[in-house]
Structures are given as structure tokens and as C-alpha cells.
Subunit: 417 residues, 2 copies
């Protein structure tokens, strides 16, 4: 039997036992896991140093190296996040709905773990710890499949956390990482329908697309965001500028950063120049349509191509387009957007109402930055990602997204007539 299948069978067996553990047992395990991250930091740092050395030799670009790198302070951050999770309310066992059936059966719909959760991700060692902790909290067994660049760090973190969880009484196979970095291992993981209940890819658009297209296991798509800010003709120019600059520049590498700006043709000649200047001053590479470029408001601007409208830059770059009005703005967003987060700036009641109603996205804002689509901002506590699909969970996913429900019916001899 292959490593992956064997590991999944063991995860399934473990999942049955984690599912019936108590809140106290799971929270104790989380505290033990947090403590072990600190106590065994040297072991993790040593593995990470080996990953870093290999990645540097391979000419890995600096932003990726930064994501890969762990130090004592980052490990403390990871441990602190795990401890915090132990303090959050347990979603399991919550009675979601219930009634007495006409025939007298007492029916309740109860929140339970999903079972076996698999995560496929890239060179971020911290995702290993996040995912393991979130799955322990929600009573799931987890199979982790980190990228090859971070494999030593991922395996070390997995070993530390799994041993701590086992020490606290959870089954040994509740937290496992796939050791092999072969593509074949990923393919096999994606084929284990029936053994793995859900697969969550976290990483770039390429990884997510590949998982969506190839997985036989149900997938939750996360995090690709081509987000727009649309400036309606009635927008307050100062608010418009502040929101655009914040949505683009406050943290350009994340999925809820804005990538594209749409401006009504009725006002673009006056509204756009100060915004373009502010973007330029923040180091943004602007790609404008013909009318935007013809404003000659800034020195460095290039003509946007068709590819720009659909691009998720994740960088200090923004496309800008003049539109005829609300209808074209909504149509453009529904065509090119990734259904993540969209924002309108307007003082017009009906424009706000129609934008909220007609734009198809996980989150739609009026007069606020796109950057607010976030589990912590929304008050969800720990976040496992932002779903851009419509099934199961949409938008920022908290602990509840890692659960399902079970109907329990208590009868006293009922049969169906």
C-alpha cells in the first residue's frame, strides 16, 4: 500500500476517536501543542535552517524566502495563536435546529466534525501549525501536504505537534504530514474520495486551479481575489482617494487587496488625477485604459491590455478603467472578478442598493476598503481561509466551516405508515 493511502486510512481511524473526544481534551491538547512549539523550538529552527539553505542555493526569490523563514519570534507567534484557539468557544455539539416530529420522534441537528481534512499548501511552514490546531479544535483528523521548499520545517512542526497532542490523549494519527514531495503523492491524496472528506488548497492561483480540476475529494476553493473599487459619479472625492489607496497599498500581497479601479465617465476627469498621483506616490504601477492614460496625470502609466482586467497582481500594481456608469461597472465586475470582495464608493442610495444586490461576490462593501474581508475583522476568531466558492462556506471561514451536522432522532418505536 502506498504511503498516502496508508496514512489516510490511519487518519480515518483516528478521526473517529477525535470526534468523540471532549472539549476539555481538545483544548488541553492545544495548550500542550502551544507549549511544545516553544519547548522544542530548536528542533523546528534546525529543520527550517536546512530548508532555507536549500532554498537559497536554488535561487528562491526573497519574498518566498521570507515566507519560508522561521525565527524564535515567529514560533512564539505560532504558539500564541494555538493557545488563543483553546480559549475560543467549541462549535461541536451545538444544536443547530430541532423539533418534535409529528409522530413524536425528537429530532435535533447537531454540529459534528467533518472527519478527515486535508490541506495542500505551499512554502509557508506556519500553515502546518494553523491547520493542525484548527483541526484539533474542531475534532477532525488532518493530513498536511506542505510544499517541497518547506518540507523539513513542515515535518518537524508536525512531529512536535502530533507528539504533544498524543501526550495529551489524542490519537497518534490525528495530525500527519505526507513525507514524500512527489507530485504522485498529491495526485493520490486528491483521489482518496471516501477516505478524505475535504481538501483545502492554500496558495497561489495555479495550485488552487490544479486542485479544483484534479481532485475527486470535495474541495473548498480559497483566496484568489481580483477585487475592484468602483467610484460612482456621486462619490465623495476625498473618501474615494483614501479608500482606493488603502485597498491597493495597505497590504498589496493579500487576496483582499484591490487590483482594479473603475471610475464613472461623468466625473473621472476631476476625480481620477489626484488618485493617480496618490497611487504613484505610493509606488503603484498604474495600467490605465485609453481615457485614463489620456489624462496625463502622472508620468509613469502604461496602457492596460485585456489580460489586466482579469489579473490578480498581488503587488503594487493597479488597473484603471473608465466606465459609462453603474451598469457597466457591475457587468465588468461580474465578468472579470473572482467573486471575492468588491467595493463601491457612492453617495447615491439607489446605486449602493443595486451594487449590493447585483454584484456577485462573497463580500460587497459600500464606502469601505476591500481590505475588511477577514475572519478577525468579521469577528469569526481563527480563520482557515477565505472561500470564493458558493458551496459550504463563502467568505472568511471560521471554525464552523470545518464542521458538518448530523441529524439525531430519538424515537420510541415509530415506523413509517
Amino acid at each position: 500500500m502506498s504511503e498516502v493511502r496508508d496514512l489516510a486510512l490511519r487518519a480515518r481511524a483516528a478521526s473517529m476517536r477525535v470526534a468523540t473526544s471532549s472539549t476539555t481534551e481538545r483544548d488541553d491538547a492545544l495548550r500542550a501543542m502551544a507549549a511544545a512549539m516553544i519547548d522544542r523550538a530548536d528542533e523546528v529552527l534546525e529543520a527550517n535552517a536546512a530548508d532555507m539553505k536549500a532554498a537559497e542555493s536554488a535561487g528562491t526569490p526573497p519574498p518566498l524566502l521570507d515566507r519560508l523563514m522561521l525565527d524564535r519570534s515567529r514560533i512564539e507567534g505560532i504558539a500564541s495563536a494555538i493557545s488563543t484557539l483553546a480559549l475560543q468557544a467549541d462549535p461541536l455539539g451545538q444544536v443547530v435546529s430541532g423539533s418534535r416530529m409529528a409522530n413524536g420522534i425528537w429530532l435535533q441537528q447537531v454540529r459534528v466534525p467533518i472527519g478527515v481534512v486535508a490541506m495542500i499548501y505551499e512554502a509557508r511552514p506556519n500553515v502546518t501549525a494553523d491547520a493542525a490546531a484548527l483541526c484539533v479544535k474542531t475534532g477532525n483528523a488532518v493530513i498536511l501536504r506542505g510544499g517541497s521548499l518547506a518540507i523539513r520545517s513542515c515535518l518537524a512542526i508536525t512531529r512536535v505537534l502530533a507528539e504533544a497532542a498524543t501526550g495529551a490523549g489524542l490519537p497518534a494519527d490525528a495530525i500527519q504530514s505526507i513525507g514524500s514531495t512527489d507530485r504522485a503523492a498529491t495526485d493520490e491524496l486528491m483521489s482518496l474520495h471516501g477516505l478524505v472528506d475535504v481538501l483545502i488548497p492554500r496558495g497561489g492561483a495555479g495550485l488552487i486551479r490544479s486542485v479544483v480540476e484534479n481532485s475527486k475529494v470535495p474541495v473548498i476553493e480559497t483566496g484568489v481575489g481580483n477585487c475592484h473599487v468602483y467610484l460612482h459619479g456621486s462619490a465623495d472625492p476625498t473618501m474615494a482617494r483614501r479608500i482606493v489607496v488603502n485597498a491597493k497599498c495597505q497590504r498589496p500581497g493579500v487576496c483582499n487587496a484591490a487590483e482594479s479601479l473603475l471610475v464613472d465617465e461623468s466625473t473621472y476627469e476631476s476625480v481620477l488625477p489626484p488618485i493617480l498621483k496618490a497611487l504613484e506616490a505610493s509606488g503603484v504601477d498604474v495600467r490605465g485604459d485609453e481615457r485614463t492614460c489620456a489624462l496625463h496625470a502622472i508620468d509613469h502609466i502604461s496602457l492596460a491590455g485585456e489580460d489586466d482586467w482579469g489579473a490578480e497582481y498581488l503587488d503594487l500594481r493597479m488597473s484603471v478603467k473608465v466606465v459609462s456608469g453603474l451598469d457597466e461597472a457591475i457587468e465588468h465586475i461580474n465578468r472579470y472578478g473572482t467573486k471575492h470582495t468588491e467595493a463601491i464608493v457612492t453617495e447615491d442610495y439607489e446605486a449602493a442598493r443595486r451594487f449590493l444586490d447585483e454584484v456577485d461576490a462573497a463580500a460587497v462593501f459600500v464606502n469601505a476598503s476591500t481590505r475588511f474581508t477577514d475572519g478577525a475583522e468579521f469577528g469569526l476568531g481563527a480563520e482557515i481561509g477565505i472561500s470564493t466558492q458558493k458551496l459550504h462556506a463563502r467568505g472568511p471561514m471560521g471554525l464552523v466551516a470545518l464542521t458538518t451536522t448530523k441529524y439525531m432522532g430519538l424515537g420510541n418505536g415509530q415506523i413509517r405508515e
Copy 2:
């Protein structure tokens, strides 16, 4: 462009307009659709007669012919189901959660349509009408892909319903059927990730498996049920017999019928013989394990093979196994069951509690027939199927399963610090 892709593009455009229609518009459309089914019954019956004739010539077995056949009374049943749907509460627009964010943004999570729903099903013309009506009610556009045996009926029903919906003001492409019965059309439909939001297969295990394995569009798995009744040593023998016979025989061809009976070894010698006799009297073909056969309680019994434990017979057939107790029963069910519906008969409090907790299924019953897992019985109103997966919806799916949510944030200039 292929027929299927073109049809999906038109469905997507239509979905934007259905999504923003009012409850009144959608309910009026449903009433018009119900009336059209009656007014244009001859057109549907003529198409169905052609399907029946072709199916008979092809030597289609009688149970399948019965599913395919429409008559005036069945059409009245379909029309009545559509009218009833117009009276159900609208799930759309419901505010699922909401809060004022710390920065003053008013946040609400609102129930909205999924978008484009596709159904792949076999030779049941009524599914065409059910699915179209449920999607109109929930503001979705629907793409129907009926089996080749029923294709003329499906296309006729689609035409009648789509024209009625259009007459009532809904967009023309909100209800569409795929005309081609080529396998390639199904394959293309399953590849339309991004255009189709969800695919729901309804039919036999083979169809469902094929869709799950090949679809790039998110799937909701429905309805395969290898359901068990487990008789704990403490079970009341009379209640046990009544529940087993009801679960097996009341309607053996449906997914919540029981396929397998487990009995504790402490009591099987006394409990099993009257149950086997009752099953035999109801015409059930019993497949027992060695100990069950050795009881010689009935004349016709055959030895069960490994295949029987995992089989969904959908017929008057039942496998019977003696188990050492609760642990083996739970282990057997979690190994061979399809996570649909499982039942225990017991007078023991702790056995009931553990069975409810440890059996992994959409619905678990104590002292009641498995046959109760049903949207109408659970008070959900119209049912679009019974989900046996854990994501999005689990168990009987009502209208809410055809919706998703959207976060709406109303700000007044908030930016993220």
C-alpha cells in the same frame, strides 16, 4: 462554440436577472408553470408516449418503464407540487447573521441564490419539473440533463415550463435542458467550472460515482443508502421486528430503506427467528451470515458474501449478521455504510448515546425506522435530494441547500489601519 457551453453562458446571464427578481415574481412564475403543465399536458404526454415506445422496443425492464411513464394523474401531481412550492416561505434575503463591526461598518450575511445549478439525472421525467421549480423558487438558473431514455419528455416539460416562466417575466434562459444525449455533452457540462456553480446528480450509484470522479464543478452527492438496523441485546423484540420489517419492506426501492440487519450475539437465537419469518412472509430474500443460516428459522436463506455487506439492494433483499455487541456494530456500520441513515433498537441508555455519537451518518435514529430520513418528514418542505456528503448540506436538502450567502458591509469611509 458547443451547445453546452453556449447554454451555460446564457444560463449565467439569466442567473443574474433571476437573482434580483422579487419573491412575488418568482412565485407568480411558479403558479404559471403549474398551470401550463395542466394546459399543455397533451404536448408532454405525446413526447412521453414516444419515449415509452422507444424504451419498450429497446427491452427496458418494467420498473424503469414505470418511472418513465407519465399520465394525466402524474402530471397533475407534478403541477400540484409546483403550486405548493409557491406557498413556501422564500429563503432568499434572509439575514443569517450580522453585527456592527468595531469600526462602525454595518455587516450582514444575507441568503442569496447559488447562481447556475445543473442537474444530471436518469429516466425520471418528473425530476425535470421538480428541479426547474426548485431553482425558480430559489432564484437560480438551471441546466437540466435528463437521461436519453426520457429525453423527449424532459425537453417537452422544459419547453412548457420555460415558456410559462418567461411569460411571467423571468428571463428566457433561466430553465434550459441539454438536447444532445451524447456522453460528450455530460463531460462538457462537468468541465464548466466557473460557469456552473453546482452539479447535483440524481440517480443510481453508478451515475453518482461517475459525476463525483469526473466533475470539475462542485458536486453535491445524493442518495446512495446502505442503511442498517442494529438490534442491541436490550432491544424490545416486538419493536425490533416492527422496525426491521418497516425499514426493509415499506418501500424497498428508496435510499432510506434498510439493506442490512445486525443483531447482538447475546440475543440473536431468540430475537432473530420471528424477524426472519416476518421478512420471509413479506417476500424478502434473506442473506445471512453463518450463525444466522444455522438457525434454520426459514426455508429460503442464502449465505451472505463479503459483497453483501456493502450492497445497496434497493429491492426486497436483506443481509443479516450477528455481531459481538455495540462496538462491532458501530465498526461494521462505519466501515460498510454509506453515511446515509442508521438505526439502533435498544432499551439501554448508554448504548443509545454511544450509537448516536459514534456512528458517522447524515441521520441516526434510536428506536425508529430508517425510513424517516426525508425532507417532508423533517418539516423541510420541498426536498431536492438527500445529501450523503459532509460539505454544504447533509441529510435531506430543502430550499436552503440551493442557496449561499453574501456578506454586505455598509460603511461611511472606513479604511484598514
